[in-house]
């Protein structure tokens, strides 16, 4: 199968899935803000391939605040919040802040057909084993890892990550007094 055909198949599959979940009429807005993680435990390991099949270890970002988003293309709130990942990344210095999106159970062709090539790393947890080590109970779930590699904030369900409430929470984590 050609790459185009594979991408097209991925698009159609994602579209079918999205239609099944969202083919329904009262609209919910995304949630606001993130919750502190009790005890601020160390972040679990996360070592996964990216879209180019290059292995990325979350530990490489130690010293930065990292927003880790678990998602899938068939999940409507994941799709809704995805563009805001790119927007919030641009609000901070790349030397201080990074966004990492962890796709669960899909392949790069499917993700590419939805997201193109985002300017932040998208990692692939094909067997969901990496996610199982993280405090994730549903999709989307987003965790913020502080400069010391600890889980600081969590959000279950969709968010707009450039919402002022979240941006302020991230700024607080980046302030010297929080290190």
């Amino acid at each position: 199968m050609t790459e185009l055909a594979t991408a097209r198949r991925g698009f159609l599959a994602a579209a079918a899935g999205f239609a099944a979940l969202a083919a329904v009429p009262a609209v919910w807005a995304q949630g606001r803000g993130m919750s502190p993680v009790a005890g601020v435990p160390p972040a679990p390991t996360l070592v996964l391939p990216d879209m180019d099949d290059k292995t990325i270890d979350l530990a490489r970002y130690r010293g930065k605040v990292v927003l880790v988003n678990f998602w899938a293309t068939w999940c409507p709130p994941c799709r809704k919040e995805f563009p805001s990942l790119g927007r919030v990344r641009k609000l901070f210095k790349p030397t201080e802040f990074e966004v990492v999106a962890v796709n669960v159970g899909e392949d790069p062709e499917t993700v590419f057909s939805f997201a193109g090539a985002p300017d932040f790393p998208v990692l692939f947890d094909r067997d969901s084993q990496a996610m199982a080590r993280w405090p994730v109970k549903g999709l989307p779930t987003t965790l913020v890892v502080d400069r010391q590699g600890r889980l600081a904030l969590r959000a279950v369900g969709g968010r707009e990550f450039d919402d002022p409430a979240i941006v302020e929470q991230l700024r607080e984590l980046l302030m010297p007094r929080s290190t």
Binding site: A15, A20, P77, R126, G138
Partner: protein, 181 residues
């Protein structure tokens, strides 16, 4: 299917999705108690079959799930307190008073394991369900599919339980019905 037709289909699907592609979910059934909102949409057989076959299920394998009385459920915590839910505590109650529990995702997954469903399809299934146990911090919300253990004729109520620091609470969705398209 030739490439031109496939491209046209992709465009049509893309156009039809554009109004929904922002991910906003519209709910047909909704109940609010305090800061908690429970919502539901019946999902028909064809939609579920389409969704899961696109994820790697064989049509015959997903058939019992697609034929079951199924919903997309959403729950949102707009308050400050943390709350929790267990799907095993929820019941659908028919007009005649008969109560039916919801089939838990793990029960379906056992079925998929025994029928050798591909791992990727099982992962998609697992995470597309309303999870058996949930914890909602302030602002959290969760959605996912769920099925009744057995169909109920006509309309019924979905009685959902949740727990917070003040104890157990009920929230009820009225006038639900299975969608057997």
């Amino acid at each position: 299917m030739n490439a031109r037709l496939l491209t046209l289909l992709a465009l049509l699907v893309g156009v039809s999705l554009s109004a929904r592609a922002d991910g906003d979910i519209e709910w047909r059934h909704r109940a609010t108690q305090g800061a908690v909102t429970l919502s539901a949409n019946p999902i028909g057989t064809a939609a579920r079959r389409s969704f899961y076959t696109a994820r790697g299920f064989a049509a015959e394998t997903i058939r019992p799930y697609a034929l079951a009385c199924g919903f997309s459920l959403g729950m949102k915590n707009s308050g400050a307190a943390t709350l929790s839910t267990r799907l095993a505590d929820w019941r659908a109650v028919g007009a005649d008073g008969r109560a039916v529990r919801l089939r838990l995702p793990a029960e379906w997954d056992q079925q998929w394991a025994s029928t050798h469903v591909p791992e990727a399809a099982r992962i998609a299934f697992r995470w597309a369900q309303f999870q058996a146990e949930n914890i909602f911090d302030a602002g959290d919300w969760i959605m996912g599919m769920a099925t009744l253990e057995a169909p109920l004729p006509g309309s019924f109520r979905l009685v959902a339980l949740y727990h917070d620091e003040k104890g157990d609470h009920e929230i009820v969705l009225d006038k639900l019905a299975c969608n057997h398209d």
